[in-house]
């Protein structure tokens, strides 16, 4: 089984330096891409059916094709690697950032060339200290070797690259809010249109791509479309970094063919549930995805299949809920996160999420009333898609609506029995 993204990553060992990386074929794709036209690189990536790994799953080549090209296009154009990764339960990009920074840089050069960007940023979350060190070193090495800077490998193509570390806000991961953060503003999202591809960072054409998306590019350029599709078990091409956290025997992150089943991830890779714990439900791809339950265990983890099952693949990192964790407490923890991280820009989200948190807290404490469930149902509609300025609030509603669907009895028990049947969640305290 091929693992192009993680083949050179050895946990606990320093990542390959430039020389070592070149020895295993590193930066070959840059040489290759620079001999193609930008349009050819875009078409190759579009045909590979690489879908963005940041959550939405949009075809990467197609996304690039909206960038104005040719001598008339505004300059400079920008490319940004989204390495904010603050969604609870998500920890896959860290593996790539710490494990093989040169692979990211190589992918960024390919992407920047395809859209003719001359300035690029890695937008890295503050907490990833080790990644910051490794990327700084790798950018330095790549520049010394002529892969970055002016006239890269004599091709006439120029690219600057900078590392930017964020100052902690989930919203910075949303692509237009990220651009505001990079411009030194509050990370509020921007109205679309205009789309960032046309008017992004400092008003210039900009592409924001996820780290895992970018890391796939060197391999697609080197090995071609047929190879990339052959890696997958599903219509969504390539491999995927999957992760599992929660009360499983061996939590972790693995690169596997796109489309392995949830059961395979849970039982073979994560080793099944810890002794004494039973499986109750899971969020397939981070905090902003709908719960799936026992009946979904044989669903393949790809964008289409997970959507058909009523959830979203999101980041592909699943969070397992066991039978000893209270579903109300679990949902409350998630809503607390979203309420706290709401940027406050639009009223439904700013006012609605704290309200949801308050109701869940009341239910959790045994002070819930039957009409509270109705109120929560309303919120899942009024904060759902189309009612707020960005996807944060609808994302928050996904675990809530599905918890109300699959675990309604547990919510009702709290209300009827006037206490939490799970002792564990009594310690929940909203933080400052």
């Amino acid at each position: 089984m091929e693992k192009p993204l993680t083949q050179h990553i050895v946990p606990g060992r320093k990542p390959l330096n430039l020389k070592e990386y070149e020895k295993v074929g590193g930066y070959e794709s840059v040489r290759k891409a620079l001999k193609m036209t930008p349009a050819e690189v875009q078409t190759l990536v579009k045909d590979s059916n690489l879908k963005g790994r940041g959550g939405a799953g949009f075809n990467t080549g197609l996304k690039w094709s909206f960038v104005p090209m040719g001598p008339e296009a505004a300059t400079p154009k920008y490319l940004v690697a989204n390495a904010d990764e603050m969604e609870p339960g998500t920890f896959k990009d860290r593996v790539l950032l710490e494990g093989n920074p040169h692979q990211l840089i190589e992918g960024m050069i390919v992407a920047a060339y395809a859209i003719q960007a001359s300035i690029s940023y890695v937008f890295l979350r503050w907490a990833y200290k080790l990644a910051a060190q490794e990327i700084t070193q790798a950018i330095y090495e790549a520049k010394e070797a002529g892969y970055l800077g002016r006239n890269i490998l004599g091709s006439g193509f120029d690219l600057e690259m900078h590392l930017h570390t964020g100052v902690g806000r989930y919203m910075c991961g949303e692509e237009t809010a990220l651009l505001n953060a990079l411009e030194g503003k509050r990370a509020n999202p921007r109205a679309k249109p205009p789309f960032p591809q046309v008017s992004g960072l400092f008003g210039k054409p900009t592409i924001v791509n996820n780290v895992e998306t970018l890391c796939n590019l060197p391999h697609i350029v080197n090995n071609g479309v047929g190879w990339f599709k052959s890696l997958s078990k599903s219509p969504d091409a390539g491999t995927k970094l999957y992760g599992v956290s929660g009360r499983v025997k061996t939590p972790g992150c693995w690169e596997l063919p796109m489309g392995v089943t949830i059961r395979e991830l849970l039982e073979e890779h994560a080793g099944g549930m810890q002794d004494g714990y039973l499986f109750k439900g899971l969020l397939p791809g981070g905090a902003s995805t709908d719960f799936l339950v026992e009946e979904h265990l044989d669903v393949p983890m790809d964008f289409g299949s997970i959507q058909a099952a009523g959830s979203r693949m999101g980041t592909g990192t699943m969070i397992i809920m066991d039978d000893q964790t209270c579903p109300v407490g679990f949902t409350l923890n998630l809503q607390h996160f979203f309420a706290q991280e709401s940027c406050g820009f639009c009223t439904p989200c700013r006012e609605g999420l704290p309200w949801v948190e308050k109701i869940l807290l009341a239910i959790d404490k045994g002070e819930g009333k039957p009409e509270h469930l109705l109120s929560l149902d309303f919120h899942t509609k009024y904060l759902g898609p189309g009612n707020t300025f960005c996807a944060l609030a609808p994302g928050a509603m996904e675990p809530l609506q599905s918890a109300l669907k699959y675990f309604r009895e547990d919510f009702e028990r709290h209300i009827h029995e006037h206490h939490c049947p799970w002792s564990k969640s009594k310690a929940w305290q909203p933080s400052i």
């Binding site: 990009d93 806000r169 030194g184 939590p251 809920m321 923890n333």
Partner: protein
């Protein structure tokens, strides 16, 4: 007053962006790096340096979780309170920290050694529960490890 060194670093950041204002977050980070936090006075200095009003800069500064507008201790403990750490029992760690340090979230120990803050997912959910002290990440935490971990910071 910004020091020569701080100005030098801020100038470098300003050189990378179209307008000095665009470097304001970087400038706040630079000031926080040397003082531990951003005082009203520092905020004013930075605002003046990059050509913003203090109110405008404060609205940026207070938006971000990790720009500190109040003094913090010599070491900042960021305890992950997100979902995987919740499932794996971070609350036990929090209670122990409350007890050992005799403070709650948002407070600083009497000797100025530690400030304790909750933090969203630290991106190491497969090895939950987790916390960070300054630049150091601790994972797969148990309450038994806390004394040894805390003793490393004076």
């Amino acid at each position: 007053m910004l020091t020569i060194e701080e100005k030098h670093q801020i100038d470098h950041e300003i050189g990378l962006v179209p307008s000095p204002k665009n470097a304001c977050i970087e400038a706040l980070k630079i000031v926080q790096q040397s003082h531990g936090w951003v005082s009203d006075e520092s905020l004013q200095d930075v605002a003046e340096y990059v050509g913003m009003s203090t109110a405008e800069l404060d609205s940026v500064a207070t938006f971000y979780n990790l720009i500190f507008r109040r003094p913090v201790g010599r070491h900042v403990i960021l305890l992950c309170d997100s979902i995987s750490c919740y499932v794996m029992g971070y609350e036990g760690i929090r209670e122990q920290l409350y007890e050992k340090l005799n403070i709650q979230y948002g407070q600083t120990t009497a000797d100025g050694r530690f400030t304790l803050l909750p933090n969203c997912c630290l991106g190491t959910c497969d090895r939950a529960p987790a916390l960070m002290i300054d630049n150091d990440l601790y994972r797969n935490l148990t309450v038994e490890q806390l004394d040894e971990i805390l003793s490393k910071y004076t």
